[in-house]
């Protein structure tokens, strides 16, 4: 075992948070530099891992494993494959961008950055954990900082920040309650006492050897679906998402919409599909139906919003519908598309939130009727809005195009009805995104905004950083798709075997 890359990526922010604990609260300058430095290190190492990942070999790489509680079968086990590596990259890039987006924070900066780094550590851990115990541990780590950050640094608009913080936290906890029961059932159901383990690979093995009956899989998958589904803002468990983002400070919105939400999709694929394939297949039509509702319903709701954050909140619910749809179709193409779409949405949603956050920081306005003609005074913010907006609309050459088309190609043959309705979403997305861009950015000059300055220096970095990935993965999709493909390709036999397994609508056998 060489240099522990993944441990460094995981623990760098946490260690830095510890260091910051011992700094005086007046040294805001050093605190934010240190926070950025730790995230910079993590991002660079992740980029290295991304470049060095051997797509031909596939499988878990950069693995680290230290037995921890041997009696319970718990070990500190990390690793990345083609599915988790893009998620890890997403986490670190957005984490770094969120540090820069919080650069000007005045109120209790020390505590803010400590909590932010702890939050990022937690999210990172869920993606690279190869052990479900570590996965749950990291997931629970995420909940606490988010609640505190919304309460202290959040903003009150339509709903109070206390309400949105509580809502966010309770949904997260409820999700984790279902998840916990599901995961413990897996733990107990996979192997007889004595051999039990939280190791994901071992659970997958158990599933392949037929240790889990159809009924067991159907039941446990439903628990996981309730948990991961509400995390992914699946209808009707989505209502935390717009309210939560609206109340949260910029960095939390970025991380929550950008990566935290994706734990839901990631978990559905990693545990739901790989460990419980029969359960996944059984519930797939339901998921597809809900996915279609997600896409259209949330798009319609986004259409009538007045607050920028609510639009992006509903928009993210709508885009998660595509992820769910890709998952539900259960084939290599659609699942690749679903994973790529999570990356794509993460980048563009966090770009949106960082730009909205900047405008709000300067003008204390977020409501569409108040904002107008920003392009005259905020050319850089305008570029950010336009890039994120056009990516949401699915413009070729930006990150969202290939994932969307891939999902459509993978799903239209499986669920023609739901797919056609979901594809109609491209028209409605264009409608609400372009309306918003038009109202906020363009139109006559408004002298009121002349007093504010455009982004400069560090403030431009989120746009630059996220923009590079937004365009880079858009023009050269193979950079992203080749890694994802190496993760999804091994599922081919599993998915092929599922083709004649019955669903809740019957069929199969």
């Amino acid at each position: 075992m060489g240099f522990p890359i993944l441990s460094t990526v995981l623990l760098a922010p946490l260690l830095m948070a510890l260091v910051i604990c011992f700094l005086p609260r007046e040294s805001r300058e050093q605190i934010r530099m240190l926070a950025a430095a730790s995230m910079g290190v993590a991002t660079c190492l992740t980029l290295y891992a991304y470049a060095a990942y051997d797509t031909a070999a596939g499988g878990m790489q950069f693995t680290e494993r230290i037995p921890w509680v041997t009696d319970l079968g718990v070990s500190y086990s990390l690793g990345v494959d083609g599915i988790s590596l893009p998620m890890l990259l997403l986490t670190d890039v957005i984490g770094l961008a969120s540090v820069f987006s919080s650069w000007n924070i005045e109120k209790r900066a020390k505590e803010f950055f400590i909590l932010l780094l702890v939050l990022i550590t937690g999210v990172t851990g869920t993606f690279i954990a190869c052990d479900l115990f570590i996965f749950l541990l990291c997931y629970e780590v995420v909940v606490i900082p988010i609640y505190i950050m919304v309460l202290i640094w959040g903003s009150t608009k339509r709903v109070s920040k206390e309400y949105s913080g509580m809502k966010l936290t309770i949904f997260l906890l409820m999700g984790s309650a279902f998840m916990l029961v599901g995961i413990v059932s897996l733990y107990l159901g996979a192997y007889p006492a004595g051999q039990r383990t939280f190791d994901i690979e071992a659970l997958i093995m158990a599933s392949q050897m037929g240790h889990m009956s159809m009924e067991f899989q159907i039941l446990v998958f439903l628990l996981l679906l309730a948990g991961f589904g509400s995390l992914l803002s699946m209808f009707p468990f989505h209502s935390w998402s717009p309210d939560g983002y609206a109340g949260a400070p910029t960095a939390v919105s970025m991380i929550h919409a950008g990566v935290l939400k994706k734990i839901g999709g990631y978990g559905l694929i990693r545990l739901g599909l790989m460990v419980l394939p029969l359960g996944a297949k059984f519930w797939a039509p339901l998921i597809a139906g809900l996915a279609m509702i997600n896409v259209m319903y949330a798009a319609y709701c986004a259409m009538v919003q007045k607050d920028l954050k609510y639009i992006i909140g509903y928009s993210s619910v709508s885009h998660m519908g595509y992820v769910l749809l890709g998952f539900a179709a259960l084939n290599v193409v659609s699942i690749s598309g679903a994973i790529a779409n999570m990356v794509a949405h993460g980048i563009m949603a966090s770009l949106f939130f960082s730009q909205i956050g900047y405008v709000y920081e300067k003008t204390h306005m977020r409501s569409i009727p108040d904002l107008k003609g920003l392009a005259h005074y905020f050319p850089r913010v305008t570029i950010g809005f336009m890039l994120a907006g056009l990516a949401s609309v699915g413009l070729p050459g930006l990150i969202e195009f290939v994932p969307e088309v891939t999902i459509f190609m993978g799903t239209i043959g499986v669920y023609p009805f739901f797919a056609v309705l979901a594809i109609a979403g491209i028209v409605f997305t264009a409608l609400y995104i372009l309306r918003m861009l038009a109202k906020v950015l363009f139109g006559p000059k408004d002298e009121h905004f002349a007093q504010y300055e455009d982004q400069k220096g560090v403030e431009v970095l989120p746009l630059l950083l996220l923009g590079v990935f937004l365009i880079g993965f858009g023009v050269f999709p193979e950079l992203l798709m080749s890694v994802i493909d190496s993760g999804v390709q091994p599922l081919t036999p599993l998915l092929a075997a599922l083709s004649d397994v019955p669903t809740l609508l019957g069929g199969g056998l």
């Binding site: 919003q305 193409v333 409608l431 038009a438 493909d485």
Partner: protein
Amino acid sequence: MSEFALTHAWLIPLLPALAFVVIGLFTRLNKKLSEAIAVSAISLSFLVSLCVLAAVIGGPVTMDNPFIQKALWAKMGTLELSMGVLIDPMTAMMLIVVTTVALLVQVYSIGYMEHDPGAGRFFAFLSLFASSMLGLVISVNFLQMYAFWELVGVCSYLLIGFYYYKISAREAAKKAFITTRIGDFGMLLGILLLQITFGTLDFMELKELVPAYIWISGTGFMTVVGLLLFIGPIGKSGQFPLHVWLPDAMEGPTPVSALIHAATMVVAGVYLVGRAYFIFSALPTVMNVIAWIGGFTAFFAATIAVTQRPFKRILAYSTISQLGYMMLALGVGSLTASMFHLMTHAFFKALMFLCAGAVIEAMNEEADIFKMGGLRHRMPTTFKCMTIGVLAIAGVPPFAGFFSKDMILAAAAEVSTPLYLLAAATAFMTAFYMARLLFVAFFGEVREDCPAHETNSYMKWPLVVLAVLAVLSGAWGHFAGFGEWVYYGTAAEEHIDFMIAGSSVVLTFIAFALAYEIYVAKRFSSYLISQRFGILYKLSYNKYYVDEFYTIVRNTFVDKLGAALYWFDLRVIDGMVNGLAKGVGCLSCVFTVLQNGQAQRYAAVFYCGVIALVAYSIFYAFRILQLLGGAY
């Protein structure tokens, strides 16, 4: 040499793309440098296109034997998305048309944008557009075409909204994008169906597979696919009923109208149908739909153009009408006629738009033709160029439009008399409204307050070049054998049907005379005529209220439905969430009563518990006794 040109054809879209990147990143604020970069990139593309044209004319490449190059773009599982270059005579012709018009429009824009501080941005977007359009033209598969199709759409959006401080421009840009998006939705469905049916989107592979499929399973399913695919061109090429965005798109700078909304992007729909002709031509139902939508659009738009007042709007409806002609030609089975008209129309319509730009600039942004008059004295070169454009579009021999329009009329007459009559009536109206435009704006007395003056040389020379092309391209195509070069199936023969050509020329001159009588000699009052046909005039002047209809649809099915669903989200879904939370809260109230910290309360609870336990044990003991009793 010819091989070299073909293998480097990928440079044609790449050069303007590079210009976009360089201008966007570095020279945006330097106007002169940005212009130089953009114009030199498109000039180089033009040169490479010329080489490609030479290679196609001299080499073995024909419609049935295209040159193909492919590269992998993205791959997931069994699905491979590739990008590439497909060169056949149709591509070569399109490359020349697009690079020529783009080059001339960019040169013209140097003059047009002289005093605009946003010129750098303008040239960046123009370059991006040129690149996307050229990428669309050389597409090897449906996905590449769809990708570039979306990109040209977004360039159109950005350029219509170039004057972003104008609310009208911003709304027009949005409308253009969303209206064409509706078409793209249908087209995307068609493409997806092709992908899952045939497992490929490659034009050449589909060309083999589709006829076999139709032969085995009939036309039923493919008719659905064909109709879905055709929705895309309806949106992009401004066909009825998705034409509403094109007249509004005139809010953009005039060079943009000339390049994107007359010569190149709007013909992408026609080009797509031509490129996928192996699908459409095998489906009689779809061909009928194409022919009738094309024919109807041509007629419908012409009836609107007759009564409009703004210079560019008349041209916009004329463009819709001419695009209808091209669709009609495709629908009646003549790829040659359609492509030929596409080429000549690109030249003479771009010419007229550039003239319009010169006129409107000279008139200080006054666009209403009835506020102009006598401009031929003030702007002689523009007047001459405009006259050539009008003669070309009206189909006066030997100008370009004569040959291409005649070919379309002949093709329509062969298939269906009603379509021919529709097309001939459109030709008559075209001649009339174009003559009206020319007479009203350029003839008559010069107004006293008229500020007009001849344009600068950047703007003048492109006009002259386009005028030459508008005169010569038709005759050149006719005599050089365009039909033996661009065709589908068997090479088309070149001949002029003197009955059809003769009658349409006669009609054209009658229309000219009528317009002259009304607008120059003023023998009939146009006002009285409009009064006489009150309802018809109103319908035409208000564009048949199609926009108003869409506004109602949008208000009901988008805004009201959205508001209703949001209400549902707030009240029902969130109501449930909050209700659940309240329920849990109430439950906890009940339990807190039991644990309020007072010793007496604890004692009382304890006592109740004891009573309950005792009662339960007694009951339980009783049950056991009963059971025992039963057993004995």
